[in-house]
Structure formats: structure tokens, C-alpha cells
Homo-oligomer: 240 residues x 2
Amino acid sequence: MTRAEPSRFSPYAATRRLSRLAPLTDGDIRALQAAEAAARYVSARSELLHEGQEVTEVRMIVSGWAATVRILADGRRQIIGLLLPGDLFGDCRQSRPLANSSVVALTNAVVAVAPPATTSESLAEAYTLSNAFADAYLMAQIVRLGRMSARERIIDLLLELHERLRLTGLVTRDEFELPLTQEIVADALGLTSVHLNRMLRDIRGHGDVEWRGGRLILRQPEALALIAGRTPVQVTARTF
Amino acid sequence: MTRAEPSRFSPYAATRRLSRLAPLTDGDIRALQAAEAAARYVSARSELLHEGQEVTEVRMIVSGWAATVRILADGRRQIIGLLLPGDLFGDCRQSRPLANSSVVALTNAVVAVAPPATTSESLAEAYTLSNAFADAYLMAQIVRLGRMSARERIIDLLLELHERLRLTGLVTRDEFELPLTQEIVADALGLTSVHLNRMLRDIRGHGDVEWRGGRLILRQPEALALIAGRTPVQVTARTF
DNA sequence: CGACGGCTTGAGAGACCTCAATGTAGGTGG
DNA sequence: CCACCTACATTGAGGTCTCTCAAGCCGTCG
């Protein structure tokens, strides 16, 4: 079964995500849309950033999926975090920053240079919040890997993706594109693809999760979240 | 065996760490030392920050050890990261930030409110670098938990601690205070304390690592690092 | 001295991995 | 249009790593 290319290209998904993080000005929106329009196409498996390399600009995923990864000397691979449309990578807050992990496109993707935040207070706040979310997702990943069983890891990750993609407006009726291979998900969850496959069979049999043809359907996301003990990530008390 | 209190109290270790991250002005140093002097004593197990709570100030560990932790509904505990002297916690870059995990003192400790970075360019850079390191350590933790065996996790963590404490000036002759119980280390490594204990016995037998009475000795840190495939974390290409 | 927290060890069970083979869908070239 | 190839998904059998439960030990402190 080959994964289909995303059936609907979602223009400005990245802009939408950032504009939901902080109240952006019209100028910000224009800058983001211009950046998206000037984006670059990259094909699956291409490396967008190499560990240890000097970082010069913040970039954002416009469409498609990517991941930050680290590969051990003997070839074991760990996906540190997934990058979805609207996510930023190549943080450069310090001077002369070095990438602390590689970034790889997992699907064909579109990547743009994020407009600099120096000009706009509101855009800077959106970036800051985006970074805060990224940190929170790293911590969630640690808890998954450290203290959850394979089954729990899978469900927790799927719920996180649901939550993140909803913010970006890429979820309809608890259903979203999941254009990843089982091997990729396994590398994110610290499992082998064989074991992941078996656990997926179990979960599928249970009826709450359906994953076929690159689309994921969560039957009862709230119930699942309750069982899995997952609460949505929140990084600010501000409402807007 | 009870852990001894650190045999040498190391004044200004936190200041030393930050001043090694960026070239600080005399004013910065004074502000940091003043903050350290005004610090608060907290006892082991006390909670310094609660998950979901609104964060109002950045704090720094002056002496002792703490950890960011998350506890699952059924009591499983995962230590997300260890906080050592000179480490900051309670990040507040966004407006009205919420703590995304709890912070707990692992030993009796001294904690200070970090001087605000708004006044000083150089101090802000030190904080930024400190945050960059914190991020890098989170990623290292993910790789440990996701793709390393118990033995590898242990050695990798010990090497990381060695590396971090050296920056703070708390290592002498590849030997440093490690005032943690095996249960705490197990919770950091996603293991049970029973299994950690067994692996420690093996590693100890191998002769490269000695851990007794709250002190850790690494016999051949470079050789260990080579075997374990660990390279020091670097977050900037800048030299100073 | 007894109680307590932490360390150590044993025996057995369970989760997850490895190796290996098979299945299946799409893509490509003849 | 078929044969073949590739990438991914699936399944089986057996092994290993790590966990659980449980008991004993050791040093410290009251």
C-alpha cells in the first residue's frame, strides 16, 4: 500500500497555525503568506538541516511532514520530534547557533524561510509560543518513551497529532492525513516496526482507531484521551 | 546507605556556570551573586513548581539538585530532566506562561530568583545559551530513552552529568558529587530501580565507573565516551 | 534497640526484539 | 498487458531484555 499524496493541499496552513497562537497584524499575515508563496519544494528523505551545522535562519513547514532525528553510530535512528505544517525549525536565539539535531523531510514537503521576527512584536510572540509548544512536545515525548507501554505510546502520539493538526486546521471530523510509514512511527516511538505493526493490529481490533491509506480516523478522541490519561498541552494562560 | 550532604559547598557555582556561557559584565556578576546570596533553602522532595501553574519568574539552582518531572495517573513517574547548580527553570518568554511540568528538589537545595535579563544584553545571551543547552539535553534524553539499552542509558547519562558539571566547575579529577538515589536515576532513565541496580553492578564490575557514598568516579571518561558514541553537546560556534 | 530508607539479590513472567518469510500494491520496462 | 521490481505491511517462531514480586541486608537515626 503506497501512501497517497495529501488529497487536499492546504494553502496557508502554516500561516493559520501561527495566527492562532497570537493575534497577528495584517502585515504579519502578508509577510507569512509571502514567505509561503516563496517556499521551496523538497522531496521525501532529503535532509533540511544537518546536526552540528551552523543555523542561519528559522524555517517553517508549509506542507508535508518532517522530523528532527538523531542517528546512532550503529544505525539506530530516533525521531526526536515530528514537524507538521506550521511548525518552525532552525531555532536561532543565541549567536552563531548550531543545529543540535538533523531535520529530515518525511514526505515530499514545502518549506519556507520564516519572516524575521525583529520587525513585529506580535509575530515574535507567535514564534515564542510556537517554541514553547515545541518544548512541551519534547517533554511529552520523553514521558512516552520513558514510562509508557507500546500501546500507550501509540495512542498518546496519535492524540498529540490530532491535537496539533487541529490547531492548524487540518482535522475534519476527527480524521486527518497521516502520511507516515509504520517504520517512521516506530522510530518516533522507540519501537521496532514489527512490534508497532502488531500493536496497531490490536488497537485497530479495538475499534477506536482506524489507519489506512495514509488517513487516520479517531472514533472517540475524548474517550481515548481519558483512558490514556492525556490532557491537551497548554503553554499560556492568555486568551485571545 | 544515606547520601552525604555535598562535602564542599560551592559558592557561586551558578554564577560561574552562566559566566562561562557568555562574557558577563561586572554588573551581571554582581547581580548574580546578589541573587545567590538572597536565595532560599528548600528541602529534598519539596515541589518548586507545579505543572500547569502560572510561572512568574525565572529561577536558578544555586546548589543541590532538582528535576523536572511528570507523574502519570497510576503513579508512574518520569524525570524529564535533571537540574544542576547553575541551571535555570521556569522559563517565561511568552506572556502568561504555564509550567509544562513540575519541578521537584531531589536533595536539599538552594534556589534563587534569577536576575531579570531585560537590563543586560550579555546576561540575556547567557540565559539564551542556557536554554539552548537545556533543549539539547532534552533531545539527548529522548535518544537515550528511545534507542539505548539500559547499560547505554546509564553510561550516557553519567557522561552527560560529567560534562555539565565540568562546565560548572564541580568536577575534580573526573570525580563529582552524585547525590541521587538509584530510584531517582531509574526514574530519569525509564527503568526500574531493580534493573538499574543490576546494570550498575555489571558496569561497576567492568571497572570504568565507581559510584559509592554519593560520589561518582569515571575512570576513563574519554574512552567511555568513545565506546558509548557520545560527543559533547555544543550549541554555539562562538568562541569567547 | 527497632524502625526506616535505600541497596542488593533471586525467581519467574511479560514485553519487546530479531530474524526470516510471505503478502500486497504500485511503478516500470519490455 | 504482463513480468518484474521495489517499498511497505504482515505474520511466525524463538530469544533477550526488562519488569514484578518478594525477601534479605546494611547503615543511620531516633
